[in-house]
């Protein structure tokens, strides 16, 4: 597979639930290694869009390829090539840290040897040696979040979808989390992230803002700020959402 095929390409993607249009004709593309931010108020259609790209939901119309695979026909292939972490902490709390790693390694089809190797790497990387055999429920939320991300990366996906990964996490943990995201992007992985925090939007390479199912803005944070003559993304977002003139 050629290098630049590991991207997300979306053309006129639409999802209707009955007469309700959750995602309305959106188009964009994300480049390899890019950190792509997805902003929008609750119910703007962010999660629906992400779910379509992850192969969890079939689009009503339009086209999209993820990692070079068509979302209609190759959702199985897509799933093997993406990592996903949602706002809901999604590790098993009644499993130990090690058991969680082993389980997720197992369902992505890693061999026993690979799992053992990955477990060592991860425990080392997360500095969780001492907690390896503790139940995950005993970890602080920030650690859980970092661990959830690491587990979502066990199978070395090229594209990572993060659906409000830092909600409910303290500012220091959030910063550590973003360090991780930068590191991933540096390794050439594409990061697709939705967030509520406008300071986090500043960290993204490019940001799209969704409103009522449509993408109303798509640019670099710098470009958006100068466009709206705003001093930060918070202001940009408020301007867009309130429909104030540019």
């Amino acid at each position: 597979m050629s290098e630049n095929s590991y991207t997300v390409e979306v053309h006129n993607l639409t999802k209707k639930f009955g007469s309700f249009i959750a995602v309305d004709n959106i188009s964009f593309s994300v480049q390899k290694g890019e950190i792509f931010g997805f902003l929008g108020a609750n119910g703007a259609g962010k999660t629906t869009a992400i779910r379509m790209l992850c192969g969890l939901l079939l689009p009503t119309s339009g086209e999209a390829t993820v990692a070079g695979f068509d979302v209609y026909k190759k959702s199985e292939k897509i799933k093997s090539n993406i990592g996903y972490m949602s706002q809901k902490f999604s590790l098993y709390e009644d499993l130990t840290v090690r058991e969680n790693i082993q389980f997720y390694g197992g369902i992505y089809g890693l061999t026993r040897k690979e799992i053992a190797q990955k477990t060592d790497d991860l425990l080392h990387y997360l500095n969780l040696w001492e907690q390896a055999d503790q139940l995950t429920s005993a970890l602080p939320l920030g650690w859980k979040q970092r661990m959830a991300l690491s587990v979502a990366l066990l199978h070395d996906p090229q594209i990572i979808f993060l659906d409000e990964p830092t909600s409910g996490v303290d500012p220091i943990s959030r910063r550590n989390f973003w360090k991780l995201i930068y590191q991933l992007s540096g390794e050439g992985k594409t990061v697709f992230v939705t967030t509520h925090y406008m300071d986090e939007a500043e960290y993204c390479d490019r940001v799209s803002i969704m409103q009522e199912g449509k993408i109303v803005e798509l640019d670099t944070p710098k470009g958006l700020k100068s466009h709206y003559k705003a001093k930060n993304m918070q202001q940009v977002f408020l301007n867009v959402v309130n429909g104030e003139s540019k």
């Binding site: 969890l56 939901l57 199985e76 093997s80 999604s90 009644d94 499993l95 997720y104 089809g109 061999t111």
Partner: protein, 368 residues
Amino acid sequence: MNRILLSIMRKEFIHIIRDPQTLVIAILMPVMMLFLYGYAINLEMKQIDVGIADLSATPQSRQIVERLASNDFFNITIINPDYKDYEKLFKYRKMRSLLIIPVDYAKKIELNNKVQLQLLIDASDPNAANYINNYFSAVIFEETIGINHRKINLYSVEPRILYNPDMRSANFFIPGLIAVILILVSALLTSIAVVREKENGTMEQLMVSPVHPYQIIIGKVLPYTLLGYINGVMILAMGSLIFDVPIVGSLLLINFMMLIYVLCGMSFGLLISTITDSQQIALMATLMITMLPTVLLSGFIFPIKSMPDLFQYISYVIPATYFLEIIRGIILKGNGISELYQQTLILSGITIFLLSLSIKKFKTNLQL
């Protein structure tokens, strides 16, 4: 492919071992129900409090009293109460029945006249009243033969009680209890196991992985089928060792039938898990859907034939109806597959229907 399945099953076993709720459902609940039904709920009647008003007070009438006193069924608590107290004694439950031997009893017997004894019975529990009436009749009948044996040639009925000669309730209830516990436990465990993943958001994490829905279903259902099956074996063993329920038929056949039935319960659980996202609702729904019909309408306690037509029709779609005939047939009567193939076919049919329906619903549910 297999590695994925193994990972899911291994994880599921860890859940089973670490979750107190699962252990309570899987072990404590069956044991409690076993002891409850095995000991406390008893359809046999013994030591019924009765009174006797022997107005005759003659050797002849005392013979009846002695015959009653020597019977395990009766416990004579009141002798010769005052006529005015009869009703009070019934109201205060000092006695449930009163036999009145008339003043002229001995005289009439001497003269070979027909004698009428009066029997008052408290029928606030009609079932018990029936028993009491039958027992009294039997005792009095024996007494009559004793008096008349030289004079009249009476015919007699010699009962031979088959399959449960001592007519023990435990022999009836414990095989039946397997039917109740297995469906409840297997449905409950499965529905909760699936809904818990939905509640915790881990189901979504499974869905974005390349795991196929079939792998999720099989990986989840197999460990709980095993657990449910072990449950059945446990009840069977306890029934046999503690409650002396004889197992006449083939153990192999029992085990095979239990597996089908557990699978049926699993399918119920899976189906319930597709319609709810909350463990609480899953718990309530499973209890309602499995427990009530199984206990009340399947013939577990009450005979189906004596139910109103509507309930009889409902009983035909309850898996336990067929499983009860199967399990009681094998355990008590030593039935083989040739006598049970009809019930087995219907039970398998219900199981296959439920399983395919729940898999279909489960898959569309995942893809939503």
